[in-house]
């Protein structure tokens, strides 16, 4: 079974700063997908970024980028130039490459961006 661990329950930074959220996972699969989802107070889960395990290049989406270390089973999210709207719960998630497309989520990190 796959497990996802986020060791930072809460983080807080000032607006415009850079923040990195940590995620580690455990799996015996060789091909899989990793995701970061954002859940603001509205409860709407929003996909922030995804990484395919067979791609060595780290994914980037505007101010969001990941540091994917497959051997270490580590998948951190970096948010640059943080904005007040980035305040949310962030969940790291795992999906097998082949299968039922089920997501396994980490415990979440509550990120607060302060003005």
């Amino acid at each position: 079974a796959q497990t996802v661990t986020q060791s930072q329950p809460e983080m807080s930074v000032q607006e415009a700063e850079t923040v990195t959220l940590s995620c580690t996972y455990d799996t015996s699969e060789n091909n899989y997908y990793l995701f970061w989802y954002k859940q603001p107070p509205s409860r709407q889960m929003i996909l922030v970024i995804r990484q395919e395990a067979y791609k060595q290049q780290n994914a980037t989406e505007n101010r969001f980028s990941v540091n994917f270390q497959k051997a270490a089973k580590s998948f951190s999210l970096k948010i640059s130039d943080s904005q007040l709207g980035d305040t949310a719960m962030y969940f790291c998630a795992f999906m097998k490459h082949l299968g039922a497309q089920k997501l396994v989520f980490g415990q979440g990190t509550r990120l607060t961006i302060n003005p």
Binding site: R43, M45, F91, Q101, K102, L103, F105, G106, Q107
Partner: protein
């Protein structure tokens, strides 16, 4: 992308009663899922809703407690049966298409059992 509507958005229910949550997707999708998010915690998959057949439940979840229907490719319901305060959670519907790894989520149903 897919837009998912969930109803109700919240409810307060008496213990021992049942609540049915509806999930409507604005396009046909292959996969639909139901997750539970207990207060302050992560999302846990309850089951995969299969169109035209019985849902596939995860360990720890049973059909008698969480019956699920999926009559077509755009709609599913989750019933929380014989509720107890421990069932107080947010229940989220999710949908995705085979071959597309992005999952879309409804806004969730916040259930409080008193």
């Amino acid at each position: 992308s897919a837009v998912i509507s969930q109803k109700p958005s919240r409810d307060i229910c008496q213990r021992g009663t049942s609540l049915t949550i509806q999930c409507q997707v604005d396009s046909q999708v292959t996969m639909m899922f139901w997750y539970r998010q207990q207060p302050g915690q992560s999302l846990t998959l309850i089951a995969t809703a299969n169109q035209g057949s019985e849902a596939t439940y995860e360990s720890g979840f049973v059909i008698d407690k969480f019956p699920i229907s999926r009559p077509n490719l755009t709609f599913s319901t989750l019933t929380v049966s014989n509720m107890s305060p421990e069932d107080s959670s947010i229940y989220l519907c999710s949908a995705s298409d085979m071959g597309n790894t992005e999952a879309f989520f409804g806004q969730g149903t916040r259930l409080t059992v008193v």
